[in-house]
Subunit: 126 residues, 2 copies
């Protein structure tokens, strides 16, 4: 059976996806894929997610240029989560202009922003 | 507003959680929390998930002894995903006896197991 056939999508046809920097191990973002986006990701060797809010394929970086080039793809013990090891083009994964979406750290029961904005989103998205 | 109040749970009252090895950056597992389990995780400084299959709190390591000691907690730009940086007690996060749940790598369109079993699950769970 092929990898795509073995992969378990949830009742909405989606699977959670973690994107991790291939070199540093930093977790860049979390998103979702449907079967079509996973197939496209494998085919193009570039991350293609499924946007739950826009209800359509999301070619990561199509506006920003911040594409994610696939280095390795993993799944977990239940075949129901995907891990992408990627090269993050432009060094920015987050729509806030930060490298990683996980820039808020728990400190004394509050979320504190601990990563700097590399590029103003206005300059990324025009 | 406190971190717990700012955290966004989905329509089922759950939030996705990624557990990452604090020292190596290796992604250990993916699971879910509800508000109570996140509060307990912060209070006990030890990972407490919510098991969607068993529909109850899941004190990670309660059977296996493979608890996860919290080093840092992050959330993402939308406050709707949690990242735990943990010390994995026993060096085994996966119920298959491997360090990480993400031990299957895509190779020529098939999932190939690439990590060894550290301890036989029969010896972990008795």
């Amino acid at each position: 059976m092929s990898a795509l056939e073995q992969t378990q999508f949830d009742k909405d046809g989606l699977i959670p996806v973690i994107a991790q920097d291939f070199e540093t191990g930093e977790i860049l973002m979390f998103a979702w894929m449907n079967k079509e986006s996973l197939a496209l990701t494998i085919e193009k060797q570039q991350a293609v997610y499924y946007s739950r809010s826009r209800k359509k394929l999301w070619f990561k970086g199509e506006e920003s240029g911040h594409t994610q080039l696939i280095k390795e793809i993993y799944t977990d013990c239940d075949n129901d989560v995907i891990l992408l090891k990627v090269e993050q083009v432009g060094g920015i994964a987050c729509h806030t202009g930060r490298k990683s979406c996980f820039f808020q750290k728990l400190d004394a029961r509050e979320w504190i922003s601990v990563a700097k904005v590399i590029k103003d989103p206005k300059d990324i998205y025009g």
